[in-house]
Each structure stands twice: as structure tokens, then as C-alpha cells.
Amino acid sequence: MDASGVGGPRGVLLVGAGAMGRVHADAWAEIDAPVACVVDPDGGRARALADRAGAHACTDLQAALARHPIGRGRAVEAVDVCVPTPAHVSVLAALPAGRYLVVTERPLGRDPAEARAAASAARTAGYDLFVAHVVRFFPAYRAIAETVRERGADDVWHARLTRIGPAPRGAGDWFLDEGRSGGIFLDLMIHDLDFALDLFGPPGAVVARAGGAQAGGAARHGAAWLSYPGRRVVHLEASWMYDGPFTTAVDLNAAWGTLALEPQSPTLELPAADGDGGGRRARAPLARTPYGLELEAAWRAHAAGKAPPVDADAAVRAVRLASLCRDSARLGRTLPWPGDAP
């Protein structure tokens, strides 16, 4: 595809003006796709982001849909759902039928049933659902995936996938509320679980542990092994208990070689501004952010009539694997992958 106007939709309806909503608004701008409307029940928050994006603000989804009819070929042909995980199903189910693009943040649901309900809502309405497993779009991760496919995933006998950082600061810290975010496996480790699924498919069994909960809260650290008997093991660590900058790493070993993304922060760390009290400012070192890349890829697939680069089935599978890890940690047992039965 050349650059002649297939970069993005002519208008986007953005649902959710929290941290991810702000990131996605910038990412749409990166591919020159204007956000037409920002919806958030918190009117002040909706207005603040709408002003920044040059969009119209709205506190009610149905009102926004009435004002901005969405559909294939219309001025608004994409809906971006950046609401907290528990609201995914209700928002996805409230969207009208049509052949437009819907983007939603991962995890698709807090458990397999919720994820399947979300996938089913998308199927019923007929829109293209892209689930924003953004890690697949980081250039380094994409290069690793391409190299594995080129050299042969069957010969990969070992991988370690690491994702550690301080606790995220979200509205009301809902990330740390397992009932709302799904916890460390569903909210954080799922990035790498999806990456492993994309490379290797489902494992034979998983064993996981979690800990570090604060009083009344959810685990802030998790570790898991995916066992592919006769093939490989994959170790995953996800943590909100690391004091340094948010850091990810890949260490993948095969008969044909090693692919190592050394532990690194994806951001450029700068000294704190004067009087900032020791905080760090961070900027992305890439001209194209992975968020812009994922939205562009999703839009291009939609425009070409192809399946989304991460579709509902893949997203449901990631939720199922993350839930299996969570169950293994809760029960203290090794659990087999239950197969592809629904």
C-alpha cells in the first residue's frame, strides 16, 4: 500500500479518555486519522482530551453514535475502545451493526467467558474487531517473530520473556484490582503470553506462581512456565514490583541461534525537570510508535477487506492462557491446556 490516503480512517470515535485513550489519540494523530469524538462519562476528562485532539466531547456513547453515524465509507469508520477491561463487553455490545473497524485494548475480557462474550458481540454486529496486543508491533518483537518464522519455530527449544516495572498509575489504580483488570497475568503477562502463542501456538501445560499482594489487593508479581513437551519451555516473568524504569526482555534460543533483546526500557530517560521532585521524564525513541503502527496495520487490513492482524480468536486464546496461568498460581498445580474446545 502506498501513502496515498490509506494511512487511516477519515474519522475515529474514541471511547475512554483515560491513560490508554490519550495514548491512542496520539497514535491516531501519528497516522493522520482525526479523532472526531471523545466519549467518557467523566465530562471534564472527555473535554480535555477532545480539546487536545481537536474533537467533539461527549459523555454518552449512544449520543455520540447518534451524532457521528459510523459505518463503512462514512466519515467515522473506526471506533477505538479504550475503557477499563470490565467495560469491554458492554461497550462492544452497544456498537451498531456494520462493516467498520473496532479497536479494543487487551485483555479482551477478565476471563474466557467475558472474552468470548466480547468476541461474540463483534461477530453479531459484523464489524472487524482488532484487539490491541501492541507488543507484536514493537519493531524488535516483530523482527524476532519474523526471524523465528523464517528460521523455523519448531527448532526453538527455549525462550524467556520478561516484563517488569513499577505499578501503573491508572484512574483509581484499577490495574491492581484483580476483579477489574484481571491482575498480573491478564493485564501484564498477557502481552508475552500472546507473543508466545503467536510464535508457538498453545502449550501442553502451564505452571505459574504469583505473589506480592498488598492488603486486600491482587498479586503484583507473577512467574510462569509454558511447557511444550518434546519441543521447548518458555519462561515468563511479569512484575509491578520493580522500582526501575519499565523494562522488557526477550531471550530466545534455538538450534539455529539465539535472539536476545537485552533488558531495556523502550523509553528515553531524561533527568527530572527542575523542581520536579525526582520524577523521570520519558520519551519514546522511535519516530513511529508501536501504537501508531498497530492502528495503521489494523486499518490497512480493514480497508483491504482482510482479517484484523490480531483478531478476536487470538485475543480469546490469550485470555484463556492468561486465565490458565492465574488458575495454576491459585491452585499451586501444573495445569494442562484444555484444547481448543470453546
Partner: protein
């Protein structure tokens, strides 16, 4: 200046044997009086390389003046070698694991203690400054209550006898579980209750090449150990070891092999910028022999690690968690 302590080597089939011999030649505090090695070809090569005399057994080493021995044969030879050293009244520094069967090793460990002979296990990682600093930080409460430990000791398949279960006792589990099992016990001051192992892939003969461990400690502390022989032939070095301790006040990581020079030679390789941990360990053993003191990693520590190895193997076979025999405690203070 003190006279050099004469040492013998009981078995030289281990990959570390040549390094130990080199240290004995170079160090001012000890010397090599002779070695025992059942394999004629290996013995001839070792004699050529070191100029040391080949002798029949531990008793012959003692008769030749050895005051202690280094046990560095294959894993199957460790038990009999320790029994020989004990019978000849020789303190020993032994390669890990201390034999193949903890129940056979335990009486030997008790025997050394009863005879007042120092018995050290070759756990050189206890001499890495980053590891000792991490342990000190945990012990001082700087990380708060410990939640989890994560360790990897991932390397190339070492070849030689390491893939032959009759001589090694197993695959990557026997080779690479014990260092981290020991360090975790040393840091926490206690042994795991249970070990769960999940399978990866095998060598051509069915011996495990990659596998994953979960260790459960009392009070809900958990750990993972990655012992895999996963590094390919093209990897720029043999492998490495690193560990993190996740505490409620912060996470501490030790990466003793992280400093390096990337050398873009053909083939590329890493030139490690590390301390000579074997030298520190050998010096500690010589000190223990001279003073009758306790080495930093004792036979009891080696036995505790061997029990974790055995539990890991049992779990790999059964597919279920395996209880760890905790008699004769891991992490016992020296």
C-alpha cells in the same frame, strides 16, 4: 611464608578440572602432588598438560603427601571418590552434585563431619561479589519481605559425559539446578518444600536438554529456576547465571557475568570481565583445611542442593510436584 598446601585431584573428567589444576600450579598457597583418573586416555592427556603424577587412589595420594583432595570426576564417580577421601582422612572440595543419590551421599557428609574433616562443595557463585551483596541486602531487610526469586543458569550443552545419564545422573537438571538451588537456600536460609518441573525438549538420547522448575518455600515464597542447556553452538560464550530477588520493598538482581567485551572476531565471542570465582573458592578451601575451619559452601549445602535436584528429576518423571527431603537443612549457617 607458609609452605604450599599439597593437594591431590580425585578424578579429572569434569570441565573445571583443568582450571583447578592451573590454579594449583599458579597459586602460592597450594600445589598439586598427583591425580587419580580411571580413564587412561584422559589421564595421559592430563599428565601431559599438568606434569602431575597419576596415582592409583586416594590412599596413594595421601601417601604421596596430599593433605586434601579436589573431587572433579564425573557425577557417578563423586560418591566413591568422597568415600575414598574420607577413608584416607583427606578433606575434600567436591564438584556438585555430590553424587547421584542423596541417600548415599548423606552418610558420607556425616562421616566427614564426624571425622572433623572439612568438606566443601564447589559452588563458586557464592564468591561472586554481586551475589554476596544481594544476599547481604536481603539479610539486612533492604528488599523487605521476600516474595519470589527468579534464576537462570542457561548454557550450552557441555558435551563430554554430561549427556550420558550413567555418568551424569541426568541432563540439564543435574548440571544446572544445583547452583541456583544452593544460592536460593543460602539467601533465604531455608530449603524448598516442593519442586515442580515441566518438560521442554531432550537430547537425541532422551536426556533432558531444557526444562523449567518452580520451587515452593515455606510461607508462600516461590522461585523459578531455568537450568536449560539452551544456548546454541553459535552463542558467543558457554552461558551464564543470573538471579533476582523480588521483595516487598524492591527487586534486587545479580548478574555476575553481565560485564563483557563484545569481540567481533570470527567466530564472535564475549570476553568476560569477571572475577576468578574458582580461585576465590579454592583459596577459601585451602584456608579451611589449614585452619580446620568451615568452607563457605559445605558438604551439607551440597547435599541440600542434591536433594532439590532429585526432587526436580522425580517431578519431571511424575508430572507432579515433588516433596523435598529437608533433613540436614539447606542454607544452614556455617
Amino acid at each position: 611464608m607458609t609452605a604450599r598446601l599439597p593437594l591431590g585431584m580425585l578424578g579429572v573428567a569434569h570441565v573445571h578440572a583443568a582450571g583447578y589444576a592451573a590454579w594449583l600450579r599458579a597459586a602460592g598457597s597450594a600445589s598439586l602432588v598427583g591425580f587419580v583418573e580411571p580413564d587412561d586416555t584422559l589421564a595421559a592427556a592430563f599428565a601431559r598438560a599438568t606434569g602431575a603424577r597419576r596415582l592409583a587412589d586416594a590412599a596413594a595420594l595421601a601417601a604421596a603427601g596430599a593433605r586434601a583432595v579436589i573431587v572433579a570426576g564425573d557425577n557417578a564417580q563423586s560418591g566413591p571418590a568422597l568415600a575414598g577421601a574420607l577413608a584416607s582422612g583427606l578433606p575434600a572440595l567436591a564438584e556438585k552434585p555430590l553424587g547421584l543419590d542423596p541417600d548415599a551421599t548423606a552418610p558420607l557428609v556425616r562421616g566427614f563431619a564426624a571425622a572433623g574433616l572439612p568438606l566443601a562443595t564447589a559452588f563458586p557463585m557464592r564468591f561472586a561479589p554481586s551475589v554476596t551483596a544481594l544476599r547481604d541486602a536481603v539479610r539486612a531487610g533492604e528488599l523487605g519481605e521476600v516474595v519470589a526469586l527468579v534464576g537462570e543458569n542457561v548454557g550450552r550443552f557441555p558435551g563430554l559425559w554430561f549427556g550420558d545419564p550413567a555418568r551424569s545422573g541426568g541432563g540439564c537438571l543435574t548440571d544446572h539446578v544445583s547452583h541456583l538451588a544452593d544460592l536460593f537456600g543460602w539467601i533465604l536460609g531455608r530449603a524448598p518444600v516442593a519442586v515442580t518441573t515441566v518438560p521442554g525438549c531432550d537430547l537425541d538420547n532422551g536426556t533432558e536438554r531444557t526444562a523449567g522448575l518452580v520451587l515452593d518455600y515455606p510461607d508462600g515464597v516461590y522461585a523459578t529456576i531455568d537450568p536449560s542447556w539452551a544456548r546454541p553452538e553459535s552463542y558467543p560464550t558457554w552461558g551464564g547465571l543470573s538471579l533476582s530477588v523480588v521483595g516487598r520493598r524492591g527487586t534486587g538482581s545479580a548478574r555476575p557475568f553481565a560485564r563483557r567485551v563484545d569481540a567481533w572476531l570470527l567466530p564472535p565471542r564475549w570476553l568476560r570481565d569477571v572475577d576468578d570465582l574458582d580461585a576465590a573458592m579454592l583459596a577459601d578451601f585451602v584456608r579451611a583445611v589449614r585452619s580446620g575451619g568451615v568452607p563457605r559452601a559445605t558438604g551439607m549445602d551440597g547435599l541440600a542442593a542434591l536433594r532439590v535436584v532429585r526432587a526436580a528429576q522425580a517431578s519431571l518423571r511424575s508430572g507432579r510436584p515433588s516433596a523435598v527431603d529437608r533433613t540436614g537443612g539447606a542454607g544452614e549457617e556455617a
